[in-house]
Amino acid sequence: MALQLPREWRWRQERYRLIGGRCRRCGQAFFPHREICPRCLGEDVAKEQFSGRGRVYSYATVYKAPVGFEEYVPYVVALVQLEEGALVAAQLTDVDPTEVQIGMPVECVLRRWRTNGPDGNIIYGYKFRPRLES
């Protein structure tokens, strides 16, 4: 799994700008972007850059990590429902696991995801951190 640079680079729109899509027919927002709406199966969809603000839809605290994530244990993963309506799976950061609740307001930040081995590239991407209710 050494040279994966093209693979990581290919996802820069989603990972660094949080670009998803919205269906012009039924209005459903989704992440990532795709050509066919997951709700109505319509093909009239447009790209959309999401605000990064949302709320925790569900969350879990990981104690047994897959290879590459051991150093972060325990860490919190979540499904975040963005203000635009789309769900995103992500890690939460800058947060104590015991303070997380469903409905908690969060915002998107850029953080390190993992390192691809000792000689590999460092992968960055979106995580979410708590934000004050506004």
Binding site: F31, P38, Y59, A60
Partner: protein, 387 residues
């Protein structure tokens, strides 16, 4: 499908589920396959379908179709591997069914095999996460357990169900495994032990999770004509269906509604001309307690949010209205992922032949077995009936 062949399960074989340090993936497969062929009284089959998920990553071996067929004395037979993550065994069963049903073969061997203990834990955990969306779930650090934990947390929130209510599914699975000599855990657990067990991914604890294990199971399928000539026409596969959904939870409009499970169940029962009230026992894909709950509700065996309450009343116990996990389920028989769907088929055949020993469901006539790939992205449902 007028004119197409009926499909019978004429032989079964399995090895005990557990940590088989002395056996390789090939040894496990050959043992289960030989037992099934001997049970069927058949030396040769036209095709071998091998269900497996992890061999490429955990065992460094692809190409199991030809490997297993040749070592089983089936050189020259048609043989391929079938993969649908943790649903691989059920998917192989489906291919075997289609093969007989279409008339392509008179007899085939369906074999599920998994050898999970060839790697240390972190590697196996990462390999299991390949059942999820690599780019939008696993690559961010979501383990497969964590994905199921997201479902469980949301379920607890939406339906106001406390974590302790899920314990009943672990308790009943372990109680049922006591009578199954092939089960990994033949020991009862209590609600107190469930609550004390450490978290894997909170809210999923050790006793919510099925164990990693080695195992292999096999079923010989045959046409009605061949089955009757061998005196093995007792169990017919009356329905077989696969349905799919998005791999990633966040792509589903309602993550707690397992659409693929719902659809494949309706299709399989429809083919059999049966409804859920005809089902004598159900083998759900209880990889985690929350999956047992969501599958029961998606099938229609429980209303949404009600499965735990039914379980608390003994509804799903061996003597209850709908026995589930009759030989321990994934939780206590063990979950050698790519083999699990075939273990379910073996267990259903034993129940319907009245050969389930201490695990026997009295008067079992219709068995529903369901193997799920990922967190609901593939659902494979089969209906087996006693003739």
């Amino acid at each position: 499908m007028a004119g197409s062949a009926d499909v019978f399960a004429i032989g079964v074989g399995q090895v005990p589920v557990g940590e088989h340090w002395e056996l390789s993936i090939r040894d496990l497969a050959v043992e289960a396959g030989r037992r099934a062929l001997a049970d069927a009284g058949l030396a040769r089959v036209g095709a071998v379908y091998v269900g497996n998920m992890l061999a490429p990553t955990v065992n460094g071996q692809q190409h199991l179709g030809a490997l297993v067929a040749s070592w089983l004395g089936q050189r020259q037979a048609e043989a391929v591997t079938v993969e649908a993550a943790c649903g691989s065994g059920g998917a192989a069963l489906r291919q075997g069914y289609l093969s007989i049903r279409s008339g392509a073969h008179e007899a085939v061997l369906v074999l599920g095999v998994e050898k999970m203990t060839d790697c240390v834990n972190g590697t196996t955990t990462a390999a299991l996460a390949m059942a999820a969306d690599a780019e939008y779930e696993a690559g961010l650090g979501l383990s497969f357990v964590a994905i199921n934990a997201l479902l469980m947390r949301r379920y607890m929130y939406e339906f106001g169900v406390p974590r302790q209510a899920f314990a009943r599914f672990a308790v009943l699975a372990h109680a049922n495994a006591l009578g199954n000599p092939m089960a990994m855990f033949r020991k009862e657990v209590s609600v107190a032990e469930y609550m004390r067990a450490p978290f894997v991914a909170d809210p999923i604890g050790l006793l919510d999770s099925s164990p990693m294990a080695d195992g292999a199971a096999a079923v010989v399928l045959a046409s009605g004509e061949l089955a009757r000539s061998l005196g093995r026409g007792q169990v017919r596969v009356a329905g077989s269906a696969v349905a799919t959904d998005y791999l990633a939870l966040h792509d589903r409009l309602d993550p707690l509604d397992l659409v693929a499970v719902r659809v494949s169940t309706a299709r399989a029962l429809g083919q059999a001309g049966l409804s859920i009230t005809d089902v004598s026992f159900f083998e759900p894909h209880d990889a985690f307690t929350v999956m047992a709950v969501l599958c029961l509700e998606a099938c229609g065996f429980a209303g949404r949010g009600e499965a735990c309450a039914l379980a608390a009343r003994g509804h799903f116990d061996r003597g209850g209205a709908l026995p589930i996990c009759t030989m321990g389920g994934l939780k206590a028989r063990g979950h050698p992922v790519g083999a699990t769907g075939v273990y379910q088929a073996v267990e259903a055949v034993l129940q319907l032949r009245q050969e389930a020993g201490a695990c026997q469901v009295q008067g079992a006539k219709v068995g529903l077995i369901q193997n799920v790939g990922g967190s609901g992205a593939t659902a494979i449902t089969h209906v087996l009936v006693r003739e």
